[in-house]
Structure formats: C-alpha cells, structure tokens
C-alpha cells in the first residue's frame, strides 16, 4: 500500500492511499497530489539512504510520497 502524506501542524496527514492495481484509488491520489502542489507544497520521495528526489507527478510505484513546504534562509 502506497501513501501520500503532508507534513503539517498535526505531525502529518495521510491524504491518499493506493495500490498499483487500483485505478480509482490512484486517480484520487493523483487529484490530492495535484491539489497540494497547487497549494505550494513540494513532493518528495526517498530514493535510498541519504537520497531524496523532488517529483512533479505522482510516482505510483513509490511507497511513500511526502509533501513539504518550501524552506528559506533566515
């Protein structure tokens, strides 16, 4: 089961869960994913120890997709 989560003031919120063989769940996850991108979040996927990648389309085969806010120096 893959998960789309958003880091927020509750710790994190699960926005969608899907399996690769469930097109309807994938469709809902893609919609949730795009809505978060429109809100200014960035999507991140871990790609191994010490590695992460920003993605612009929902990677259906990823186990965990994390939405994060922009960072800045300060």
């Amino acid at each position: 089961m893959s998960k789309l989560v958003r880091m927020d003031n509750t710790g994190h919120t699960t926005l969608a869960e899907w399996r690769a063989d469930d097109p309807e769940a994938i469709e809902r996850a893609v919609a949730a994913f795009r809505a978060e991108l429109d809100r200014g979040f960035f999507a991140m996927v871990s790609t191994g120890p010490g590695h992460a990648e920003q993605v612009r389309e929902l990677p259906v085969d990823a186990e965990l997709v994390i939405m994060r806010l922009p960072i800045s120096g300060g």
């Binding site: 880091m7 003031n9 590695h51 992460a52 994060r68 800045s72 300060g74």
Partner: protein
C-alpha cells in the same frame, strides 16, 4: 544525493551556487574576519602596556574585546540549532514517527539523544536541527553554521527537521545556497556554545569518515 536543483534556489538567484571551493573560500573569509577583529585589539593592548604600564585597565578591556567578538560570532553560529519551544505532544509524536522512517536506527538514536540528525554529504557531515544545520568539514576541525528553516510557525519540531533533511538530501549544494551562513570557524568555538545534550552529535560528526573528503583547508 540527487542531481536536481532545489526549487527554493530560484528565490536566491543572486547567490553563487555553493560548492566545496566556495565553501572553502567562505571559511577562509571567516578566518580572516576573525583575525582582523582580534589582532588590532591585541596589538593595541600590547602597545598601551609598552608605552604606559598605567594603561593596564584599558589594555585588559582591549584583550576582552579580542576574546568576546569571536565568541559572539560563535554564539550566533551555535544558535542555529538551538531547540525551539515544543508544541502539541500528539503532533510531535506523529511527526517523530514520520521523521524516524527517514533514517536508520543509529541516526534515530542520535536524534533522540541530541535533537540533531546526522547526514553524510559531499560537502561534509551535516547535523540538521529544526531551524538550521551544522556542517562539519576539514577533518572535523571546522564547523559551518547554517540558518535555514521552513516558514510555518505551527509545525512540530520533528517535521521542521524532516523538511530540512528532505531538502538537503534532494540537493545538498542547493540547500547550502538557500541557507544563510551564520558562522564558520573552529569546531571548539561552536562546541563551547552548544547545549550540552547536542555535544555527542558534534563528536560523532567529527569522527565521521567523510568530514574532510572534499573540503580541506590549506
């Protein structure tokens, strides 16, 4: 770490992208600045004593300035990882669960003890806090202190760390470009100013195998 440029870099387009050479140059600049603050005060103290021993109190003030100014810079550096006030307990636990999924057992243990996440990068070894990060380089002798955070005041502490960690893992050089360099100098200067619970993290980072791999002071 992946090759894609961090999108936040576009917000600081006037900055040169950080790399090992630029990091080395900035480190030297910090050393020169420190020397430029210390030497005149020490010179003035020596000159005063040589010219008129009765100026001893003024010479002491000069020496104090020579000591205090670099200490204040180091304090500013250490402040980047100083823990912030914790919020809602359940949110913290949720955030901690997600953060814990991002690293291995040893790093999880270190974070639980110190509040810092150790991450080995190409520029050196990073210690990521909730509103900044320390970069240990030069065989563990130098620490660069970076002020960088996520602009959402209500996020739990662990989520703040996770934001920085994911950005760092996606583009280390971009992360260092976006972050503001608050201090770069000797590890011992920063160590003296860190909260006691964070010291083990700095010691582990110092002994990390890649602290001098790409950044050696000449």
């Amino acid at each position: 770490m992946a090759g894609e440029v961090l999108p936040e870099v576009a917000g600081v387009h006037w900055r040169a992208r950080m790399d090992a050479r630029r990091l080395r140059m900035l480190g030297r600049l910090w050393t020169v600045t420190t020397v430029a603050h210390v030497v005149p005060f020490l010179g003035a103290a020596a000159a005063l004593l040589a010219l008129q021993p009765l100026t001893f109190p003024v010479a002491v003030v000069c020496v104090a300035h020579a000591w205090i100014i670099p200490e204040l810079y180091a304090q500013r550096g250490a402040n980047v990882v100083r823990p912030r006030r914790r919020g809602d307990g359940e949110a913290e636990r949720n955030a901690l669960g997600l953060l814990g999924d991002l690293f291995d057992h040893a790093a999880r243990d270190l974070h639980a003890r110190t509040g810092l996440v150790l991450e080995r990068g190409a520029l050196g070894t990073w210690l990521v806090g909730e509103a900044g990060a320390l970069l240990v380089t030069d065989g563990g002798r130098r620490v660069a202190c970076w002020c960088v955070h996520v602009k959402e005041p209500n996020l739990p502490s662990a989520d703040r760390v996770a934001h920085l960690l994911l950005a760092l893992r996606a583009d280390e050089q971009g992360f260092a470009t976006v972050a503001n360099l608050a201090f770069s100098g000797a590890r011992w200067r920063v160590r003296r100013r860190l909260p006691a619970e964070m010291l083990p993290a700095l010691d582990v980072a110092r002994s990390s195998p890649n602290v001098g791999a790409s950044f050696t002071l000449r």
